[in-house]
Point group: C2
Chain length 417, copies 2
C-alpha cells in the first residue's frame, strides 16, 4: 500500500447522519493504519489549507461523532466550475494535496461534490499526481443518481412522517373550536421527496396528511383551496404538507411571494405561511403552519436506523475502495428487496453521478396530484425503518460531541482566490 | 362509595402527555370500578351531550393512549364566563350531568378549565346536586399557579432544548459559506417558559442559543441587531430563540407585523420570520428561521420522562381525590428538591388556581435580558430529564393509538347555545 494521507471533507447541506459517515471513515482508516486529515468547511478548507488532524481524534470523540448531527469539520456551499474556468482553484487543490502528501481524497456530499471529486481526479491524472478520488453520498434531497437513496434522506423522511403524524393528532383534537387547517412546509426545492415521506404519516382517504403539494406538479391555487375546503367539510380539519419548491403555472415560486410588512420592511417568503394566509383569507378557516427548516435535517434524536446503517456503510466502503485504488467512484446503496428490505453497497463511477439529478418517479404521485401511491410507500417505508437513539445525558439532552480540532500546520503561502 | 359516573374532559391546547393523564384516569377509575364517560371536545361535548363511554376502551387502547399525543377525546377553546353571565350554560351542564348520573367531574386543562370546574362546583352546591369537581393540570405554557410545573411543559421544553441544540450544530457547520443567523420561534404568548427552556441547549458565552428574546422584556430592535452582529463577528454565527409574545416598547406584538405579499394578499405575521427579515435587511447576513408551531407540543416521540410521570400522577390523584369527595381542588406537583430531583403530588383548592397566572421569576432571566440564569437551569433541568419513547411499529413510525369512540346515547333534547 502506498504511504500518504487520506483527506476527508464534508460538503453542502449537512444531515443528521453525515457525521456517522465521518466516524466510519475514521474508524476504517484507523483499522488500516492510514492517517486522515479533514478539511475545515469542505473544499474551502482544502483551498485555504485549513486542515485538521482527524486521526488525532480520541476513540470517544469518533464514537460520539457517529450519533452527532451537523457537520463536525464544517461544510460549505461552494461549487467549483469547469476545469477550464476554475483551473487555478483545481491546481491550488493539487498543490495543497502535494504539500500534505494526500493520496486519497474522500468528498462527502451531493451532486456538486461528486463533480468536484471527479474533476480533481482528472486534473491529478493530467499532472501525473497519484491520487484516488472517491465521492461519498450524502443529501437529504435524495436526488443523487445511481444510488437507491442518499444517506441523510431517511432520517429527514422519518422526522417528517413522525412530525406530521403527531401534529395531525393535535389538530384533530382542536379542530372543533380552533385550528381547522394546518400547513407543514417540507424542504425540497426541486423534488418532492420529503413531502412524499410525509405521506407515510397516514393512509386512506381521511387520514392526514390530506393534501401533499409536490414541486413536480403545477400549483393551482383555486383547485387547492377547493380541496382544502372539501376536506374540512368531510373530515373536520385538513393537514397540508407543502414542498418549499412548489410553483404556479407561470413558473413563479410560491415561496417568493414575500412583500412588505406593516412596518414597511421587506418580508421573507415561505410556502406554508403563504398558503396559510390564502386559506384564511379565501376560506375563513383558522389556520396554523409550521416551518421546521433545519430541524428536519439535524434531528439526530429521531434518526432512521436504516439511514444510519447506510451512512456508516458508505463511509467504510469509501475508505476500502480508495485504498484499493478505485478512482473516480462513489459507493452507492443498491436495493435488493422492499419487504423484507435488503440492500448492499456497490461502487459506481462518478461520471454517472456528477451533475445528474434523480427525480421522483412519476408513479410515486397519486393521479390527483395530492398524495403518494403504493409504489412510493414501498420505496419509502424501509428508509424510515428502525430507531437509532443517541445516548442522553442525565440532563435529559442528547450527548452530542464536538471534537477538539487539531489544526495541521500550514506549509504553503496564503491563498487568495 | 356513592354510585354514579365520572366525567372526564380535555380542555385548551393539547400536549404530548395529556393522553397519559387520560390513561391514568381510566386506569385508576377501572381499579375502583367506577364508570368513566368522556366529553367530546371538552366542555363543549358536555353542553352538547356528546359523550362517549370511555370505560369501554379496551385495555390495549388505554395503554396506547398513554403514549399518544393530541387529545383523544377532543379538546376545545371555550371559556365560560361568570355564573351570572353564562348561567344558562352552567345549568345545562348540570342538566347533562344529572341525565347521565355524573357525580364526579374531572376537567383536564389550564387556568380557564380550573375556573370552569370551580364554577360548576359552586352551581352544583347551590342546587344541592351532589357533584365533586376536580381540575387536572395541563398546559405547555407552564403558567398554572400553585403547581411547581404543568404537565405538558416538560416535554415541550425538552423538544425545544433538543431541537435548538441540533439545529445549532447544523448552523455552526454551514456558517462559513451559508446561513450565519438562525431564528427559532418558541410558543409563549405571555411568559417565556419555553424560550427559557431553549437555554438548556447550551451554556457559556459562545454556546447556542446565543440570544433569547423573552416576552417579559421589551424588544429593542437596535439593541438586538447590534448583539446579533457582535455574536456573528465573535462566534461566526448566531442562534436566536424568540418567544412568539415579544413586544416593542409601544406594546405592539412583533408577531403582528404581517402586511401584504407581492400578490397583494394579506400575510400572517410570525416573530421568527420578521426577525430574520430584519437581520437580513439591516446586517446583510444570510438567515434561516424555524417555526415548529404545534410540533413542539405534540412531539410525544421526544417526551420528557419526568413529564410523563407527572401527567400520570395527576391523573391518578385526580380520581383518588374525586372519589374521596375532595371538591373544587386540583392535584399539583410539589418540588422537594432540585438535584436529585424529588417531588410529590399535593391537593390544592381550585380557588387558588383559577384565573391566576404563574409568571416566570425575574431571577430566571439574565441581567442583560438575553439568556437564562443558573436558577432557571436548576428549575428547568429536572423537567426535561429522562426519555419516554413511544413504541415504534416495523414501519418506523410511533404506534399511536386512536381509540374507537363508543357514543353514549343522548337523553336530552338538542342544546342550542
Amino acid at each position: 500500500m502506498p504511504t500518504g494521507n487520506l483527506l476527508y471533507a464534508q460538503s453542502g447541506g449537512v444531515t443528521a447522519v453525515i457525521n456517522a459517515t465521518a466516524a466510519a471513515v475514521l474508524q476504517a482508516a484507523r483499522a488500516r493504519k492510514v492517517r486522515v486529515l479533514a478539511a475545515r468547511n469542505g473544499i474551502l478548507g482544502a483551498l485555504r489549507e485549513e486542515l485538521v488532524d482527524a486521526s488525532a481524534l480520541t476513540a470517544a470523540e469518533v464514537k460520539g461523532l457517529a450519533h452527532t448531527p451537523g457537520g463536525a469539520f464544517g461544510s460549505c456551499r461552494l461549487k467549483l466550475k469547469s476545469l477550464a474556468e476554475d483551473r487555478a482553484k483545481y491546481e491550488r487543490l493539487l498543490e495543497v494535496f502535494r504539500a500534505h502528501d494526500v493520496r486519497w481524497f474522500l468528498y462527502n456530499g451531493g451532486n456538486d461534490s461528486a463533480d468536484t471529486a471527479l474533476k480533481v481526479s482528472q486534473l491529478a491524472a493530467e499532472y501525473g499526481y497519484p491520487l484516488t478520488c472517491v465521492g461519498v453520498p450524502k443529501t437529504i434531497d435524495n436526488d443523487l443518481a445511481v444510488t437507491d437513496c442518499s444517506p441523510g434522506f431517511g432520517s429527514a423522511a422519518k422526522y417528517t412522517a413522525v412530525s406530521v403524524r403527531e401534529c395531525a393528532l393535535d389538530v384533530a383534537a382542536m379542530a372543533e373550536t380552533s385550528t381547522k387547517v394546518f400547513v407543514y412546509e417540507a424542504m425540497g426545492r426541486h423534488a418532492g421527496w420529503l413531502a412524499a415521506a410525509a405521506g407515510l404519516a397516514g393512509d386512506g382517504r381521511d387520514a392526514a396528511p390530506h393534501l401533499i403539494l409536490f414541486p413536480e406538479r403545477v400549483f393551482d391555487e383555486a383547485d387547492f383551496l377547493a380541496r382544502v375546503d372539501a376536506v374540512v367539510k368531510r373530515v373536520g380539519h385538513c393537514v397540508v404538507v407543502a414542498s418549499e419548491g412548489i410553483r404556479t403555472a407561470d413558473g413563479r415560486f410560491v415561496a417568493e411571494a414575500g412583500g412588505r410588512d406593516s412596518f414597511g420592511h421587506a418580508q421573507l417568503g415561505g410556502v406554508a405561511a403563504h398558503l396559510a394566509a390564502r386559506v384564511k383569507d379565501a376560506l375563513g378557516h383558522k389556520v396554523h403552519w409550521a416551518l421546521p427548516d433545519y430541524l428536519q435535517r439535524s434531528a439526530r434524536h429521531l434518526a432512521s436506523r436504516t439511514d444510519v446503517e447506510h451512512a456508516t456503510a458508505v463511509g467504510r466502503a469509501a475508505v476500502e475502495c480508495a485504498l484499493a485504488g478505485q478512482n473516480a467512484v462513489m459507493p452507492v446503496i443498491v436495493r435488493d428487496g422492499d419487504a423484507p428490505y435488503r440492500w448492499h453497497v456497490d461502487i459506481a463511477p462518478l461520471s454517472r453521478i456528477a451533475n445528474h439529478e434523480k427525480t421522483m418517479p412519476k408513479g410515486f404521485i397519486r393521479a390527483d396530484g395530492y398524495g403518494i401511491t403504493a409504489a412510493a410507500r414501498r420505496y419509502l417505508a424501509p428508509l424510515v425503518a428502525g430507531e437509532a437513539y443517541p445516548p442522553y445525558g442525565r440532563d435529559g439532552l442528547p450527548d452530542y460531541v464536538v471534537p477538539r480540532m487539531r489544526t495541521v500546520r500550514r506549509k504553503l503561502p496564503d491563498w487568495n482566490a
